[in-house]
């Protein structure tokens, strides 16, 4: 665990850029703070449609962590939209955070890691690193 120097990491270009999408606005600052403390370059948004725009415009975003149940566009819809829109050469990994995995049977067909809320933050970090490593 190298948590020290996280502010230095943020400025450093080698720090991987991660986008976190959750329509629960109140929690987003806490997620951002946590991921930054872990040495990631974290971006957050509560609007899935905005998230699509952000990913498309920012090629640095390497991992997208998304909530599953959202009002406008749910997590699966977001993943499918991004995969559909992004050029095939773009390497991007997805991680799903959800309160109730059983309610979405389609989840397994996506082939993405799924974390159950409230997710253990360490596991989230591990999963992100594993995704970056692939």
């Amino acid at each position: 665990m190298t948590r020290d120097g996280s502010s230095a990491d943020r400025n450093c270009h080698c720090a991987p850029r991660i986008l976190l999408v959750d329509d629960e606005q109140a929690i987003l600052p806490e997620y951002q703070e946590f991921l930054e403390l872990e040495g990631f370059d974290a971006l957050t948004t509560f609007d899935p449609e905005h998230a699509v725009v952000m990913v498309a415009q920012d090629p640095e975003i390497m991992v997208v962590v998304t909530d599953l149940r959202m009002a406008k566009l749910d997590g699966i819809g977001l993943i499918r939209a991004l995969r559909h829109r992004l050029p095939p050469e773009r390497q991007i990994e997805f991680i799903v955070l959800t309160g109730d995995a059983s309610s979405q049977p389609d989840l397994n067909t996506l082939g993405v890691p799924v974390l159950i809320k409230p997710a253990d933050p360490d596991e989230l970090v591990r999963t992100i690193r594993a995704a970056l490593a692939s």
Partner: protein, 893 residues
Amino acid sequence: MMLSGFMPASRSAVRSAAVAILLGSAGFFLNMFELQLGWGMHFIFGNALIFAFLRVLPRHVLVAAGSISSGWSILLWQHPWAWAIWTIEAITLAAFSRSHAPIRVDVLFWLLIGAPLLVLTYGGIMAMDGLSLWLVIAKQATNGVLNVALGEIGYAAFLSLTVGKSKVRRPRIPIEAFVLTILASVILIPTTVYLAIDAPAREKGARQTVERTLDERLRMANSSIQFWSQSRSLMLEAFAERVGAGRLESLPQVPRGLGDFDLIAGLDGDGRVLWSTGRALSTVRAGLPWAELRRLRTGQAILVEYSRPTGAGYNLALVVALRVNGEPRYILASLRPDALAGIVGLSGRGAVDGIVLTSPSSRTWPIGTLAAGPSVLANPRVVREPGAVLVSNAGYGKSLMSDLKDALLVKSTLLEGGAGWRATAAAALAPEVVKARRGQLELFAALCIFVVVVTAIGAILAQRIERSLRALAQSAADLAMAGTRRDQIDSLVIRELSEISINIASVGSQVAVQRGALVNYQRRLQSIARHAPVVVYALEIVDHKKGRLAYVSEALEKILGYSASDAAIPGWWSHAVHPDDFEHCQSVFADLRPGQTYHAEYRLMHKAGHYVWVYDTLAIEADPESGLTEAVGLIIDITERKDAMAQLLQADKMASLGRMVAGIAHELNQPLNFIKLATLNLRERVNRGRIGADHFRDKLENILAHVNRASAIILQMRVFGRKPSEAPHAISLEESVDAVMIMVGPQMAAEGILVDRRRCVPDVKVRALPVLLEQVLLNLLLNAADAIRARRAGADQPGQDEDVIKVEVQRRGWLVVLTVEDNGTGLSDEVLPVLFEPFFTTKPPQDGTGLGLSISYGIVRDLGGTIRAENAERGARFVVELPISGEDGRAAA
């Protein structure tokens, strides 16, 4: 040809004649058995035999037979008039009896023909006097009518004997004729019998009366003559002594005391005259009954007749026997021709009248005025008979005709010591007969009048009977025929009458049946009231409010433990109602109007102290007769239903919670996730030693806010899941919607379902348990969300429409109306009718119990409201109407 054609008619005529002669002879023979009614009056009955065949024999045969039969009267009375009149009677009867009642015909005949003919013949030709004529008319008429009546009775008897035996159809006796016959017979037969007994008695009485006067006269005559002869013999003896017995000295004069005599002479035993007054007589021997004289004792005198020497016929003389010196001497005193009247005068009473003295040689010497010639009185029959003899120059058979005018009753007796002398008296019978006949006539007259009157009345009566019988027969015939219009009307009337009578009868039986049914119904009702778990009660309604308890059934004790007398205590009900329900009850039963029904569910305290849930329904009826208003109510124990309902509610709530679990888990995860992250971040910053106090405080505040949020959700879940223990009370419908939104709002928002609330201003309250009302709202909102999800799942392009659930609360008069409208899939026609049925669901088994809407329906109904479903423009719409509670509701009105 002609001969053969004539033969049957001839044979028939012969037969008719034979029948007439046979019947007439029989009648003639029967007439001999006459019924004596005194003095030549007879009833004869031969014609009754003829009249018996009035209806069956040809007319000419009847007339001939009647004529032959009546012929007997010619022999009886030696005149043809009675026969003639009876023959006319037979003709009349034969002519009219088939069209009219014979009795009536006969009565009219005697009134109009018979009586005038009798007056003409008997009165005119035979010169019969009035009394007898009237009597004859009455008698003949009565006899004739009686014969007709007897004939009718005979025919009736003949009919009754041959009825059913003979094939010949014989004419019946019409009602009128029969009635008249009965009346005439009833009057005439007993009267005739009475007359037959009465008439001889009258006859005998009249004879006896006359005979008594005869006896008296004869007795008087006898004693007068006795007295005269004795007194004269003594005087003659004395005279003879003075003359000087046995010596002829001179010619003495008849002394003054012996004025009865015109000649007195003394005779010796050979009849020589010894002395005499006046001219001297040589002898008077001739003509004296010497044998009798010699038998006389001295001083004895007898009356003798002798022929005068002058040759002037016979004289009466008194001879007194004497004995002078042993020689028989006789004093002969010759009576003056008028001296007999003097003898009568001796009696001094004048009663000795009409006496005839008859000498032994049958010479008659009348005294006084004689009723008949001496020859009549000298009738040998009179002398022969010891009693009185009726002497009449008319025969007894004709005595009616002659009225016995010259009929005498004659009686004769030997004079005492009269030596074969007889005294004969005669008296006319006529006065007594007339007297008796007058009585008889009165009887007959009364009888005739009676017969005429009764016949008239009988005729009228019989005609009426016949008319009504004919009318009866006519109406019967009418009924049968029903031909003409009149008949149809009659039959219509009759049919209506019969229908009415049938109706009356059936109404009567229905009344009886209904009375029986009523008794059964009452018994059943009492049984129900006793055994059913239902309290039946009746209240008086005063001023539109509950008044005195008039009746309460026994079931009250079973359900609530109170006896009827407990419940009768004023204020019992108010006391027993649960305090929490009291206000509600007050408001429900505040204004009771006739024709309305009121109901409420509330708790009543059992006598043991616990509360029992009851359903109370009260129907108000105005009695138009008494003007009172009465209410009949039922109280039903619904505790079990309430319990079952509560269990169902609980099950449904749990199911609802189950349906919310995913959403609730999500809702709880959000704050928990935040709290975890925030605390981790805090710990990391504290570890790294770079955190400001402000940042730290903000983070803690955020954490607390999220803890509170989770707590609120859990609290609501707990409240909702709890079994209700509180009582229904007035609650705000908006608050209930708020409470439900806490549970489902975040979930909806998370799914992008907008809940569009339109609030009611001002807020209204309904009386309910909050939990139950929330359960209804929850069911409706969850269903709406499900419908939207179902539409989304079926839609090709998600997110095309804005998913909205409209929740609206409105006020409409007494009601508050809650509408929950979604834009989901809507309700199909198959679903709509069964929507509120238990266990109906459109969802897969793991998602729904099928109880939600059914339970909601029950809850709303219990609150006095309604719930219905319909299709909106897009999706479904559920409308719940609830009565506005208490003051709010009344304020609205």
